[in-house]
């Protein structure tokens, strides 16, 4: 058990170290959500009027937290491909540490980064008064953080699954674009999915795990959600566990070729 924890810690540490060292990634992951908020958010805020008496900006601010987690988490897969192309994965695979330790280390490493990024977005959103601090409870923040962690675990897992099956950066990026767009747009991050949304769109949205994540965060922070927060939490939890298990199975199949 202590060996497993050590393995997780070692891999986690390297993920963090690499992120801190990569200035471009650091700047990119902080800048991206603000460009969305400042341009798309402010622009559409002026054009739309929400039905339920909240501003569009405060609605989509939470969607942008979800987006931050989605992008940062899936990115973890690129690291695996990188490590594979530069051979470093072999150094890890030939070491006497458990495979699940490697998988969990990678997942927790990227999850730490994603959640910190999402929290930075939350802090800015609160500072600018886009969401009023008064309306937020302590329990709400804790629940939101739990959602962020589970969502991140889900998508890091997804990134790892793709990375273990694709062995070049180009292929990975094509797949990512193919996945990221629908995951993001169907999640209710940018527009509400309500009963007035065309039915087919409602149905596909509900296959998107990010939908429940964002709905849950919204419910925890602003108390406006499609489903009860507990239900969202259950769905997000199950999806996260399933994806971690699949990622673990896939990772065991990697051989040192």
């Amino acid at each position: 058990m202590t060996n497993l924890l050590k393995a997780i810690y070692t891999i986690w540490l390297r993920e963090i170290l690499r992120f801190v060292k990569s200035k471009s990634r650091l700047v990119g992951s902080i800048a991206q959500p603000f460009i969305w908020l400042a341009i798309v958010g402010v622009g559409l805020n002026a054009a739309f009027k929400m039905t339920n008496n909240i501003s569009y900006l405060s609605f989509m601010a939470i969607g942008i937290m979800g987006m931050t987690i989605l992008f940062n988490s899936l990115f973890a897969g690129i690291n695996v491909i990188w490590d594979r192309q530069f051979g470093f994965l072999k150094e890890i695979l030939v070491a006497p540490i458990s495979r699940i330790g490697i998988v969990l280390g990678k997942i927790f490493g990227s999850t730490t980064i994603s959640v910190i990024m999402a929290l930075i977005v939350l802090i800015i959103v609160l500072l600018f008064g886009i969401i009023s601090i008064k309306s937020i409870t302590f329990l709400g923040i804790i629940t939101a953080i739990i959602f962020m962690i589970l969502t991140s675990v889900t998508f890091v897992g997804m990134g790892l699954i793709i990375a273990t099956n694709v062995d070049n950066i180009e292929g990975f990026q094509v797949l990512m674009n193919f996945l990221v767009m629908p995951l993001f747009f169907l999640s209710g991050a940018l527009f509400p999915i309500t009963s007035s949304t065309p039915e087919w769109l409602q149905i596909v949205s509900k296959i998107d795990p990010l939908f429940y994540a964002i709905d849950g965060i919204r419910g925890s922070l602003t108390k406006i959600s499609v489903y009860p927060v507990q239900f969202d939490l259950l769905i997000v939890f199950i999806v996260a566990v399933v994806l971690v298990l699949i990622a673990d199975i896939m990772f065991r199949k990697i051989e040192g070729k």
Partner: protein, 336 residues
């Protein structure tokens, strides 16, 4: 260095029996068996795609085997974590994190192998051995190919493995760096008593380093022995003498014990001897002087492993075409 006592019930550092590895319907390793003694430097010599790397990857738990049995210090390689703790490896292609510094790379390795006591000192010691101590805090990105290779060798024995696997340790390096790496390998073997198994397609490397060599081609071992045995099994050294009185001198020489055969050529004699030719030249000169026969010139031709290789495989080691495992590599592009 090689323990020759007690050959029965002996525990080998590596024992491979009837190892087979198929990739689909390609056979990369075709029923090979060999054993490596503790403390030995053992070479797998063969052209690209002969199955050397595949064998190494199986022995280091990185690839599953199709059939056969592999034991490392009497432990079956199924016990992956036990084996992994016992071995160190330098892969054919670099496996460093180029964004990290040399020290950070070694520190990561120390964590992976659970080295805690004197970690800093161990890192400094291994860096010193490969003469990189002043580069500890430089990013690996800025290193030359030779420096990276040296760093990887330093890393591979940090956790005091019992066996070190070196897959083409000097491929693509300049001659000076190659010499240096040979020195490190010898030092590790002699001072730290590490058993070393290396693959190479440089014959001079096998000749210089290895106690024993297996020549491997198309996934099969075609011959095993010490470099000396392999060379002499091919025939002794050849001494070429340029001389006028061929017949006369031939008669004199035939009475000497060291002669295997003598052939008359246009300009003189071609003598195949059964001993080290360098030591026989003075004797031959002496014999000629005694009989007042004048030698115009004398030359020694020693066999190299290259000759052995050509005679065994019918081809030069460098112009062999890739086969099974090489094609797999190209197909999947898994390796740079």
């Amino acid at each position: 260095m090689v323990n020759k006592a007690n050959p029965k019930n002996k525990i080998y550092a590596i024992e491979v029996n009837n190892l087979i590895k198929n990739f689909g319907n390609l056979t990369a390793v075709n029923n090979i068996s060999f054993s490596v003694n503790e403390g030995e430097i053992y070479g797998l010599l063969g052209p690209n795609g002969a199955g050397k790397t595949t064998t190494i990857l199986i022995l280091t738990t990185m690839l599953s085997l199709t059939s056969g049995n592999v034991r490392i210090f009497d432990k079956d390689i199924i016990n992956k974590n036990i084996i992994r703790q016992m071995i160190g490896i330098v892969f054919q292609d670099p496996t460093l994190d180029e964004d990290l510094t040399a020290f950070e790379n070694l520190d990561f390795h120390a964590r992976l192998y659970n080295i805690k006591v004197n970690k800093k000192q161990i890192i400094n010691n291994v860096l010193k051995l490969v003469e990189l101590e002043d580069k500890a805090d430089k990013q690996v990105k800025s290193f030359s190919g030779g420096m990276k290779r040296r760093l990887e060798i330093a890393r591979s024995f940090m956790h005091e493995p019992k066996i070190l696997f070196l897959d083409e340790p000097t491929i693509g390096l300049d001659p000076q760096t190659r010499r240096k790496i040979w020195d490190y390998i010898k030092k590790l073997n002699e001072k730290q008593k590490i058993t070393i198994i290396l693959t190479t397609h440089y014959l001079e490397e096998a000749d210089e380093l290895c106690n024993r060599v297996s020549i491997i081609d198309h996934g099969k071992i075609i011959k095993t022995g010490t470099p000396k045995e392999l060379k002499s099994s091919f025939g002794g050294d050849i001494i070429l003498i340029n001389i006028e009185k061929k017949q006369e001198f031939k008669k004199i020489l035939l009475n000497s014990a060291f002669i295997k055969s003598i052939k008359q050529t246009k300009t003189g004699l071609e003598i195949i001897v059964n001993k080290d030719g360098t030591k026989l030249i003075p004797k031959i000169v002496e014999l000629a002087a005694k009989s007042k026969i004048n030698i115009n010139s004398i030359a020694l031709k020693q066999h190299t492993l290259e000759d052995v290789f050509i005679s065994l495989t019918g081809k030069n080691i460098r112009d062999s075409t890739p086969d099974a495992s090489e094609k797999m590599k190209l197909k999947f592009g898994g390796r740079r």
